[in-house]
C-alpha cells in the first residue's frame, strides 16, 4: 500500500488544488501514469504516481485545496490476491447497487478490505441515479485539460463513457476513445469476445506473440471473475428493474437478489462461458420469479376485448402510411395499457418497505423473449405520453436491440408496470408473474376471430384476452377490475390513443 500525496510542483508551491481525478477506485495504475490534475498558481498540471498498483481509495474530493504532502489517495501495491468467493451479504449488495444504478456514492468505501477489486469500469453514468447521490453525467464538470485534449482530438465528450468519479470523463477515457495507440495488443476475435464477456482487456495478460491477448486469455479472465466489467450494455440477466425513484439503499440490501452472473463466485468450477451466460440468465430469472411467487400474493383477472374498432382504425391508418411507419396491433395495446395505468395509478408503481409507492410516470416494461432463450424487459419510458407512431418506433427499436444485446442500461431499468404480450405466440391467455418490486403485470394473448354477441346477434370479431396479475398487498380486485375495464374502454376509441 502506498500513499499518493499532493506533490510539490515548484519551489514556491506549498499547496495545490486537486482539480480532477483521472482515475477511479479500482483502476490499475502504473508508475508514471497521470492520475490527477492539480491546479497550481500557474497552471493545471497532470501529476503522476510513482507506484504500480490499484487505486484503493481516493481521499480528497476534487475542488479541495490541500497542503503539499497531504495524502490524496491510497494505491494498493500488493499483488492482487486471488479473488475470494463473493459473500452473499452486504458487500455484494453494495456492489450490485453500484452496477445497477450507476451511483458512485459508495465507491470510496468499496469493499477493499478483503482485497477484492471493485469493477474496474463503473457503470455508465446515464443510468438513472438514486436521488441524493452523484449528479447525472451532464452535470459533471470535465476538467479543462481533458476538455482541451478532447478538442485537440476532435472528440465529442458527450459520446464518451466516463470512468472517473461520478462518471467523469478522464484523460484515459479520451485516449481510449481516440485509440491512436492501443496499449494492449489484442486479436480482433479476442477483442470481440471481451466485449461479449464483459472482460476488461487492460487487465488481461496476453499469452500470444509479444504479449498479444488472444481469445484463450479472455476466456480465462472471464472465468476468474474480478477483471470482468459490468455490462456496458444491457445487464445480461433479467435483473430486477430498479425504480426510478429508488427506495432506500438499506431496503435494497435487505432484499435477496438474483445474482448477476458477473459477480458469480470465482470459485465456481470453470465452465464454457457461452453456456454459462445462458445459465446465468436462467438463474437470475429463476431467482426473480421465485422471489415474486414467494413474496407476492398474486391475484388474476381477465377480460376479453373486442378489437374490431381498433383494428379497423389501424387498417385505415396504415393504408395512409409508408410501410416503415405502419403500426402493429401491439402499439394500441401498449398505449392503452399505459393510459389505463395512468388512470388507475394504484397499479403503477412499487411495493417497498411494506407500502406502495406510486411511479413518477408510466414506464412500461415490455417483455421481449430472446431467441437463445431467456427474456429481457426493456422499458418504454413515459409510454402514456407517446403518440402511437413514436411508441411503435420505440418498441421496434427496443425489441431489435434487446435481441442483439445492444440495450443501454437505462433502457432496462425504471419500469413501473410490465406488459407481456404473447400476441405472436398463438396462445389466448397469459397470466404473468409480477416483476418485483412492481405490483402488477398486464398480459395480452393472441388476437383471434371469435364468435360473440354484437347488438343482439352472433358476430365474429377479432378479440384479445387481456389479463392482469396484481399484487394483493398493494391493491384489491376492484382496482384490478377498474384497470381492465378502463383498458377495454380505451381500446374502443383507438383514435384517442
Amino acid at each position: 500500500m502506498a500513499e499518493f500525496t499532493m506533490p510539490s510542483l515548484g519551489a514556491d508551491m506549498d499547496e495545490g488544488l486537486l482539480q480532477e481525478w483521472l482515475v477511479a477506485v479500482g483502476d490499475q495504475v502504473h508508475k508514471g501514469d497521470a492520475i490527477a490534475v492539480v491546479e497550481t498558481d500557474k497552471a493545471a498540471i497532470e501529476v503522476e504516481c510513482f507506484e504500480d498498483g490499484t487505486v484503493g481509495r481516493l481521499l480528497v474530493e476534487p475542488g479541495t485545496r490541500v497542503p503539499v504532502g497531504t495524502s490524496l489517495a491510497v494505491i494498493e501495491t500488493g499483488v492482487a490476491p486471488a479473488p475470494a468467493p463473493a459473500p452473499a451479504s452486504a458487500p455484494v449488495a453494495v456492489a450490485e447497487t453500484e452496477t445497477e444504478t450507476g451511483t458512485k456514492a459508495e465507491v470510496s468505501s468499496a469493499p477493499d478490505a478483503d482485497g477484492r477489486q471493485p469493477p474496474a469500469e463503473p457503470a455508465p453514468a446515464h443510468r438513472p441515479l438514486p436521488v441524493g447521490t452523484a449528479p447525472p453525467r451532464e452535470a459533471v464538470a470535465v476538467g479543462p485539460l481533458v476538455r482541451h485534449l478532447a478538442e485537440q482530438k476532435h472528440l465529442d465528450l458527450a459520446g464518451i463513457r466516463g470512468t472517473g468519479r461520478g462518471g467523469r470523463v478522464t484523460r484515459r477515457d479520451v485516449e481510449r476513445a481516440t485509440a491512436t495507440h492501443p496499449r494492449v495488443r489484442v486479436t480482433p476475435y479476442a477483442r470481440r469476445l471481451a466485449g461479449e464477456l464483459h472482460v476488461d482487456l487492460a487487465q488481461v495478460r496476453g499469452s500470444g506473440e509479444l504479449g498479444a491477448v488472444r481469445a484463450v486469455d479472455v476466456r480465462a479472465a472471464a472465468r476468474t471473475g474480478p477483471t470482468v466489467l459490468p455490462a456496458p450494455g444491457p445487464p445480461t440477466a433479467a435483473a430486477p428493474p430498479s425504480p426510478t425513484r429508488a427506495p432506500a439503499a438499506a431496503a435494497h440490501a435487505a432484499v435477496p437478489k438474483p445474482e448477476p452472473f458477473r459477480t458469480r463466485p470465482a470459485t465456481a468450477s470453470p465452465a464454457p462461458v457461452g453456456e454459462d451466460r445462458t445459465a446465468a440468465m436462467r438463474k437470475a430469472i429463476a431467482a426473480l420469479m421465485a422471489r415474486s411467487k414467494r413474496e407476492i400474493p398474486h391475484y388474476y383477472l381477465s377480460t376479453t376485448v373486442d378489437l374490431d374498432t381498433a383494428l379497423t382504425w389501424l387498417h385505415t391508418h396504415n393504408n395512409a402510411c409508408p410501410v416503415a411507419e405502419r403500426l402493429l396491433p401491439a402499439a394500441p395495446l401498449l398505449k392503452a395499457a399505459a393510459l389505463a395505468a395512468r388512470q388507475v395509478p394504484e397499479l403503477n408503481g412499487f411495493w417497498t418497505d411494506g407500502h406502495f409507492e406510486p411511479g413518477d410516470g408510466v414506464h412500461l416494461g415490455v417483455a421481449v423473449s430472446l431467441r437463445g432463450g431467456g427474456l429481457l424487459t426493456p422499458v418504454l419510458h413515459g409510454a402514456d405520453t407517446l403518440g402511437l407512431p413514436a411508441l411503435m418506433a420505440a418498441l421496434k427499436d427496443l425489441a431489435v436491440r434487446a435481441r442483439t444485446g445492444r440495450l443501454r442500461g437505462s433502457e432496462l431499468t425504471g419500469a413501473t408496470l410490465t406488459v407481456t404480450s404473447l400476441v405472436e405466440q398463438g396462445v389466448e391467455t397469459v397470466f404473468g408473474v409480477i416483476h418485483p418490486p412492481q405490483v402488477a403485470l398486464v398480459g395480452f394473448g393472441a388476437v383471434t376471430d371469435r364468435p360473440c354477441a354484437v347488438n343482439g346477434l352472433l358476430g365474429v370479431r377479432p378479440m384479445v384476452t387481456a389479463t392482469l396479475a396484481a399484487d394483493h398487498r398493494a391493491s384489491d380486485g376492484a382496482v384490478g377490475a377498474r384497470y381492465l375495464t378502463t383498458l377495454n374502454r380505451l381500446l374502443q376509441h383507438p383514435e384517442e390513443l
Binding site: T187, P188, G208, E209
Partner: protein, 363 residues
C-alpha cells in the same frame, strides 16, 4: 521447350497404397478424357504431343488409338495458335480440350486466354460464350528448374471471365473435367506435376464436384490450413503432425481458384479463428495474398491471430534438389507457421487448458 518426363519413368516412383481398384491421378485424368470423348462428339483434345507421344506426362496415352488423329490432335509448337484455335472452335460449337505442356509455356498463349477466351463474352455483350477447357501442368518438385516449375495459376485466377480449377485428389482428377466441359465459359485446369503419380483408391461413388465449392479435407478446431493442388498432400501431412502436437488443424482445399468459395473459408475461420494459407506460388501478389486479404475483410473479428502464408521463396525455382526443396513450401514449414499462428498451446493465464478448450464453442 522440353517438358520431358515420360510416363514409364514416373510410374516407377508411384507410392503404393491400396492393393485393389487402385488408380493414379494420371490414369484418373485419362479416364476422364476418355469418358468425355466418348460422351460427346464435339469434344476433342488438342495440344503438343498429345497424340503419338501420348502426352508429355502420359495423360493421353492410348487415346489416339481409340479416337483417331482428328480428335487427338497433335499441334505444332504454337501455343497461341492452338489455344486461339480452341477458342474459335468453341465459338463454332465444338467442345475443345486444349492441353498446354506447362504453365510456363502458357504464357505464349496468354494473349488468347486473356484477350479472347476470358473477354469475348463480355466484349460482345453476351453474344459469344467460349466453352473451352484448357489443361496444363503446374508446379515444381521434379528438379525441372526455372522454366518448367512455376505456379502461375494465381495469375489466371486474377482474370474475370474464366474459371480456374486445381484438382488435388484422384477423385477431382477423375471428375472435374466433366464439370468443366459442362461450363459454358472457359475453364483452366491446373494439374500439379507432382501429383500425376499419386495413387490411391478411387471411390466408385465419387461424383462430379460442385465447382463453386471448396472442400474441407480434414476437420479441425484450432486452425484452418487453406491450400489447393499440389500443396494439399503436404498440408494434410502437416495437419497430421500438428495433431500429434495437440493442435487440431482443419484443412480446406480451395479446389476452385476462381471464383473463390469465400463461404467455406470463412465458415472454417469462424470456427478456428486462425488461418494459414499454403500456396506454392511466390508470396508477393499471390493467390495466398488474395485469400488472406479476404479473410481480413470478411472474418477480421473472428481472427485470434494474424493470418500467415506459406509460399515459395521468391526465386526462380532452381535445379539442384536441395535448393529446390528449400524454395518450396514443405510440411515442416507449414507446421511451424501453424504453430506460430496457434500460439502457445497453453495460455499462461489459463491454467493449462489447451486452446481448443472452449474455442469455437461460443456464439
Amino acid at each position: 521447350m522440353t517438358a520431358e518426363g515420360s510416363a514409364k519413368h514416373e510410374t516407377e516412383h508411384s507410392t503404393e497404397y491400396g492393393t485393389e481398384h487402385k488408380t493414379t491421378y494420371r490414369e484418373a485424368l485419362r479416364e476422364a478424357l476418355r469418358d468425355a470423348l466418348r460422351a460427346d462428339d464435339r469434344v476433342f483434345l488438342m495440344g503438343e504431343d498429345v497424340g503419338r507421344y501420348g502426352g508429355c506426362f502420359g495423360v493421353s496415352l492410348g487415346l489416339l488409338e481409340e479416337f483417331g488423329p482428328e480428335r487427338i490432335r497433335d499441334t505444332p509448337l504454337s501455343e497461341s495458335a492452338f489455344v486461339g484455335a480452341g477458342i474459335g472452335a468453341a465459338l463454332a460449337g465444338m467442345r475443345p480440350i486444349v492441353e498446354i505442356m506447362t504453365v510456363n509455356f502458357s504464357l505464349l498463349a496468354l494473349d488468347q486466354i486473356l484477350n479472347n477466351a476470358a473477354t469475348l463474352l463480355h466484349m460482345s455483350g453476351g453474344q459469344l460464350p467460349v466453352p473451352l477447357v484448357i489443361r496444363m501442368t503446374t508446379g515444381a518438385g521434379r528438379q525441372l528448374a526455372a522454366q518448367h516449375s512455376h505456379s502461375l495459376e494465381g495469375w489466371y485466377a486474377h482474370i474475370p471471365g474464366i474459371r480456374v480449377l486445381a484438382p488435388a485428389t484422384i477423385e477431382d482428377a477423375r471428375h472435374m473435367l466433366a464439370a468443366a466441359l459442362a461450363d459454358p465459359d472457359p475453364v483452366l485446369i491446373f494439374e500439379h506435376g507432382a501429383l500425376y503419380n499419386a495413387s490411391g483408391e478411387l471411390h466408385p461413388d465419387a461424383r462430379i464436384p460442385d465447382l463453386d465449392r471448396a472442400v474441407v479435407r480434414r476437420a479441425g478446431t484450432d486452425i484452418t490450413l487453406i491450400t489447393y493442388g499440389g500443396s494439399l498432400p503436404k498440408t494434410l501431412a502437416a495437419a497430421e503432425e500438428l495433431a500429434v502436437a495437440g493442435v487440431s488443424a482443419e484443412v480446406v482445399d480451395l479446389r476452385t481458384l476462381r471464383p473463390l468459395d469465400d463461404t467455406t473459408v470463412m465458415e472454417s475461420v469462424a470456427r478456428t479463428h486462425r488461418a494459414v494459407v499454403v500456396d506454392e506460388a511466390w508470396r508477393s501478389g499471390s493467390l495466398a495474398a488474395e485469400v488472406s486479404a479476404r479473410i481480413t475483410e470478411q472474418a477480421f473479428y473472428d481472427l485470434d491471430a494474424p493470418v500467415e502464408r506459406v509460399c515459395s521463396a521468391e526465386v526462380p525455382i532452381p535445379y539442384a534438389r536441395q535448393l529446390e526443396e528449400a524454395a518450396l513450401p514443405g510440411t515442416a514449414g507449414i507446421v511451424a507457421a501453424a504453430r506460430r499462428v496457434a500460439g502457445p498451446t497453453w495460455s499462461a493465464a489459463d491454467g493449462g487448458r489447451s486452446p481448443s478448450d472452449g474455442d469455437g464453442r461460443v456464439s
